[in-house]
């Protein structure tokens, strides 16, 4: 069975199955064995070394699901406390921990990791790639997250869980009003776990842009992958803001740098701007992947392609852009000028339009086929019901005067639970039911599934619908109790009963999930829904035996023999020319084959580095500095250990992949995946730095004098000297790169000498930048100004530390003959980051030294 609707047939009439395949059959007997051996997965206790996306993805999904359950238990506890007025079951301190942990875990440790984990699991298969381009990086991201999350949750059992609410507004969360370590657990714990989100985002961006199956041009990318591409780019631009915010607040708490203390020229609102600049896009970061999931499941369930593919893709991109212009709608009640409120109000409404486009695209798709009723499609329908309702209340809260009434009340609690449960949790359940057969020998039970759906759907509406009224009747959020005279008792009791229904539904789901999980690569249940996309190709540990040529959006519908032909090895790269793991690198737009990527295999490094990174941050939280330092060194060592056997260079000449195409197995520069990853990493760093510059200007605006009265600007000679040192370090590296390009086989000292020279130059620049403020008599604890200028200097020092590690690593590899003018990936990565850091330093000098003179 292939194509089912007339509409569909018309649409793809032009596509012809190729007469000839890239590779002839039968394949040489040994080929499959080499491929199989290269992709052999670890067993037993070596499972901790697994880096393959299927393993990491499933483990990642598992931990994210665990966090969902744990945070859900916290919610049930809270609902129990609120069931009746003046309840004494849970005290204020525990309750405040519960709601802080519930929100924090659901947002940071469940929703984002879950959508990212599903992406790590699905994306390579949808693209018919063998793996993600940086499997060890995703394994590291997973271990960092897994260890960090479990420890973070554990703080509850020691009574030191944070109590500041998931948005942690200072001054409540600063050292005066939150002494002790509980707020530090939040700031350091959540701050660093975001590293894993960013690592995953880099992985996903490079994976989608560079490892698609040949022929899968932008027009043919599955909508889910489009959604994940926008998702990952949003992480790149949004998460640095929260990382910076947590860094600033931790500096304030640990060293009393007054970024948020009004009496010292800081401002509590700076936190809110940074937090919501991250926090609002975060909502769409969670929703877009879920929308992508819906756009995959609906066409399968109606057996007809998605109507309005281009409109949906445009809507996804538009959501990404608009969502960065909405953050102030969480701050309507802070007393901002009316004019800016109107702008953000309009933007907040505008973001409803791309969601509307998608909703009607799904309805149109359902109208063009025949919907099969099963648990997955029920969850999709439930999603539409709940999400549309939540979207409409979202338009309401976008209205400034209305928001002034309902802000921080149970109305808002109702609204965002409708949006997040509707917009993310329901599609997630649909995804479990839908894609489960790709991982397990058995599908989930449809009989139990009906119960699961009914309990959760009714439960969600019963819990959250009454809250709209509870809020309008005056009940603020984040209250551990309320007095009976307020008349909120009945509505709260209904909500609590609903919460127990949800819990029952989820419990039933988990039982089924565990009962039916029989993991298998090759004998999974398979394409039981007759879906059209490549993740349903029958796969081995090496994913698809050969990488198919993609000619439409639903290749399995349009090329009925595709699965068999791919498995027989008729398509590209049916073997493993280097004898190791490989993927096909294709061009970003047209997806034509460019090179073979040597993919790293399993290693203890990511696990060790993940555990040590968690150890470092948590020891830092507990202020056990020697142990923290030890963990930091171990983490760095583990990372260097795992990257050591990467950048292997041209281990063999160009390899035949089929259709007469011969592609190199080692490339550098913009053709290499490392170059792309560095580019994304620099976007992350650049966004972080932009947020620092924003913070500087923000504090300038709220301070009457800048620098504050009695504070001197350093003499101009200092920043000029620092700038010259920075620029010189960059110049020698650039010279080195040119020399290596011109004569790749020349003396190795043309790489080593410049690196040796550049390190002291950069260090001198950073030292002068810091000294300039110190000799001018400015201290970081004196004022918001002082804290800002030292932040700029500290950032340069931090980046300098990274540069020196990278440079020394490159030097060692050069000394051992593992880096030269041809095999220069490590050098290139160092160079890119070097130029970026120098550019950042020079901008910092201009902002700190010239700007106050220009305005003063």
């Amino acid at each position: 069975m292939t194509v089912t609707s007339d509409h569909d047939r018309r649409r793809h009439a032009g596509v012809a199955v190729p007469e000839s395949f890239p590779n002839p059959v039968p394949r040489p007997a040994a080929e499959l064995e080499v491929l199989r051996r290269a992709w052999e997965q670890p067993h037993g206790w070596r499972i901790f070394t697994a880096v393959n996306n299927t393993y990491v993805g499933i483990a990642y999904i598992g931990v994210a699901l665990l966090m969902f359950l744990l945070a859900g238990v916290l919610a049930v506890l809270m609902r129990t406390q609120l069931a009746v007025p003046e309840n004494t079951l849970i005290g204020h301190d525990l309750y405040n921990q519960l709601f802080t942990m519930h929100g924090t875990i659901m947002m940071f440790l469940f929703a984002v990791p879950m959508v990212e984990a599903i992406g790590i699991y699905l994306i390579p298969n949808m693209l018919a790639a063998r793996d993600l381009p940086f499997p060890r990086l995703s394994a590291y991201a997973f271990w960092t997250y897994a260890v960090g999350s479990v420890v973070f949750f554990g703080t509850l059992f020691f009574g030191v869980a944070p109590t500041g609410g998931w948005f942690m507004y200072p001054p409540l969360t600063s050292y005066v009003y939150s002494p002790g370590v509980s707020a530090d657990f939040w700031l350091l714990g959540i701050g660093y776990i975001e590293i894993s989100a960013i690592a995953g985002a880099i992985e996903i961006i490079v994976g989608i842009l560079k490892t698609r199956a040949p022929g899968m041009s932008l027009e043919k990318i599955p909508v889910y992958c489009w959604a994940m591409l926008v998702f990952a780019l949003m992480i790149v631009f949004a998460f640095p803001a929260i990382i910076l915010a947590t860094l600033l607040l931790e500096l304030e708490r640990a060293f009393h740098w007054p970024f948020f203390i009004a009496a010292k020229g800081g401002d509590p609102l700076l936190w809110q701007h940074l937090f919501w600049f991250f926090g609002h896009p975060e909502v769409y970061v969670i929703f877009l992947p879920a929308a992508g999931i819906v756009s995959m499941i609906v066409p399968t369930m109606v057996q007809s392609p998605l109507v309005g593919y281009r409109l949906v893709v445009i809507a996804l991109i538009a959501t990404g852009f608009i969502s960065f212009g909405l953050w102030v709608h969480h701050m309507y009640a802070t007393g901002l000028p009316q004019l800016s409120l109107s702008f953000f109000s309009a933007a907040s409404m505008a973001v409803a339009i791309p969601s509307g486009i998608q909703v009607f695209a799904w309805i149109a798709t359902m109208a063009s086929g025949r919907l099969q009723f099963n648990t997955a499609s029920l969850f999709i329908l439930g999603f539409l019901f709940i999400f549309v309702l939540g979207g409409l209340t979202g338009v309401m809260v976008a209205l400034v005067p209305f928001d002034w009434q309902v802000h921080d009340t149970y109305f808002v609690v109702a609204h965002f639970h409708y949006v997040l449960i509707g917009g993310m949790v329901f599609p997630m359940f649909a995804a479990f039911y839908y894609w489960y057969p790709t991982a397990s020998r058995e599908a989930l039970s449809e009989r139990l599934g009906r119960w699961v759906f009914a309990l959760i759907f009714i439960g969600v509406n019963m819990t959250f619908f009454p809250m709209h009224f509870t809020g309008l009747l005056g009940m603020p959020r984040r209250v551990y109790t309320y007095i009976s005279e307020m008349g909120w008792g009945e509505l709260n009791l209904v909500s609590t009963i609903g919460a127990y229904m949800i819990a029952a539904g989820v419990a039933l789901f988990v039982i089924d999930l565990v009962r039916k999980f029989k993991f298998s690569f090759e004998e999974n249940k398979g394409n039981i829904w007759n879906a059209g996309t490549l993740e349903w190709l029958s796969t081995g540990t090496y994913a698809s035996r050969s990488i198919p040529i993609v000619r439409s959006r639903e290749p399995l519908w349009d090329q009925p023999r595709l699965a068999r032909d791919a498995k027989e090895g008729r398509y590209f790269l049916p073997g493993a020319p280097t004898g190791d793991r490989e993927a096909l690198i294709t061009s970003p737009i047209e997806a034509s084959p460019q090179s073979i990527l040597q993919i790293p295999d399993e290693h203890w490094g990511p696990f060790a580095a993940g555990v040590c990174t968690a150890g470092f941050f948590y020891m830092l939280t507990l202020k056990v500095l020697p142990v923290a330092a030890l963990f930091a060194l171990l983490a760095i060592a583990a990372i260097l250990w795992w990257v050591w056997d990467l950048d292997r260079g041209p281990v063999r000449g160009p390899a035949e992949i089929g259709a007469g195409l011969s592609v190199p197995v080692y490339v550098t520069g913009p053709a290499s995946h490392v170059w792309w990853a560095m580019a994304v990493l620099m976007l992350v760093a650049g966004t972080l730095f932009t947020c620092v510059v924003f913070s500087y200007f923000f504090l300038w605006l709220v301070n009457p004098a800048w620098p504050p009265a009695g504070t001197e600007l350093p003499h101009l000679g200092w920043p000029i000297a620092a700038g010259i040192a920075y620029a010189a370090s960059s110049l020698v590296i650039a010279w080195s790169s040119r020399a290596l390009t011109r004569a790749p086989r020349g003396s190795p000292w043309r790489m080593r000498l410049p690196l040796l020279l550049a390190m002291p130059l950069y260090a001198a620049g950073a030292a002068v930048q810091l000294m300039a403020q110190w000799q001018a008599g400015v201290g970081p604890q004196d004022s918001g100004y002082g804290a800002m200028v030292y932040l700029f200097a500290s950032l340069q020092l931090l980046f300098g530390g990274v540069l020196i590690i990278m440079a020394c690593y490159t030097l060692v590899r050069s000394a051992l003959g593992m880096q030269d003018g041809i095999r220069r990936g490590t050098f290139d990565a160092t160079m890119l980051f070097w130029h970026y850091s120098v550019g950042q330093g020079i901008v910092a000098l201009v902002v700190v030294s010239l700007f106050p003179r220009a305005v003063g």
């Binding site: 509409h7 003046e86 004494t88 005290g91 301190d93 405040n96 109590t163 609410g165 507004y169 001054p171 409540l172 009003y177 509980s182 009004a262 509590p268 609102l269 109507v307 309005g308 409109l311 009640a333 802070t334 007393g335 009316q338 109107s342 109000s345 409404m349 409803a352 509307g356 909703v359 009607f360 309805i363 149109a364 359902m366 109208a367 063009s368 025949r370 539409l384 549309v388 309702l389 409409l392 209340t393 338009v395 309401m396 209205l399 005067p401 209305f402 928001d403 002034w404 009434q405 309902v406 802000h407 921080d408 309008l472 005056g474 984040r478 551990y480 109790t481 309320y482 007095i483 009976s484």
Partner: protein, 333 residues
Amino acid sequence: MQRRRPSFAPLAALAAAGPLALAGCNSSQSALAPRGPHAGAVDTLTWLVFAGGTLIFLAVMLLLVAAILLRRDLTAWMTGNAFIIGFGIVFPVVTLTSLLTFSAFSSRALVTPAPRLRIEVVGEQFWWRVHYLDARGAATLVTANEIRIPVDTPVEFILKAQDVIHSFWVPNLAGKLDMIPGRVNSYVFAASEPGVYRGQCAEYCGAQHALMAFHVVAAPQAEFSAWLAQQTGDAIEPATPFLARGRQLFLDAGCGACHVIRGTPADGLLGPDLTRVGSRLSLAAGTFPVNIGTLAGWTSSAQHLKPGNLMPSFGNLRGAELRAIAAYLESLK
């Protein structure tokens, strides 16, 4: 971090002295019962968006059901880009633009005329300090947790925070506005009907955010003026030796380090001014009614009743001493 769990159990003991909370004062805290032009305008907007939202929701669900259940020839019109563009772009653009215009229009209606009374309210963990200001901005009266205003008179509320961020919200009268350290927010609104309106902190502010409420009492101008005149000046002298003993015990226990009772040596500024505490509707920021029982219970067990607030529990006072202090405080009308 062993903190005592708060408990309402001692309230059972207090029940004899007075009903829990403010059952008697018939206050309201609802955005759906507007008693001022500000809340009224939002109420109108609320019902409008509710009605509109319900219609749109039903329409979308109807389209969804039609898309699933109708015969395919009847749904053909729904299967193209025109359908998506019409419902997904054109319709929301038109609706949202009109809504935004209407909302801007109603925001404008919220700009009230020049205020005739200025009151500074300072949010503190976990209560409200209230200053009535004269024309020059000097405080003419300092009180706490209760704001009396004349009806039909635009009042400017000058909102500040002492420690962390709080939010000032009286749903029956107007929406909320934050109190942020280092910033001064100002808000003008009026009550159109006499009555007691409850307000509550709407920005999470720490341990006892849940129990940080206050009352706004709107009264006719004459009644308000009389109240204001009565509230200023020194506290009344104890009328009986028992009350005088209460005052002495109050001072001896060191209560004056944090509380002001004008006309006595008590001049501490950390806690609420108690000069007329007996005349107030509530104790502990809208948590209990004011009577001898609650005053005694609060003095002896403030940390038990509202753990984490700045008032220590005076558990060392004996029953008779507590009764005298409470009776004295209750007499301060």
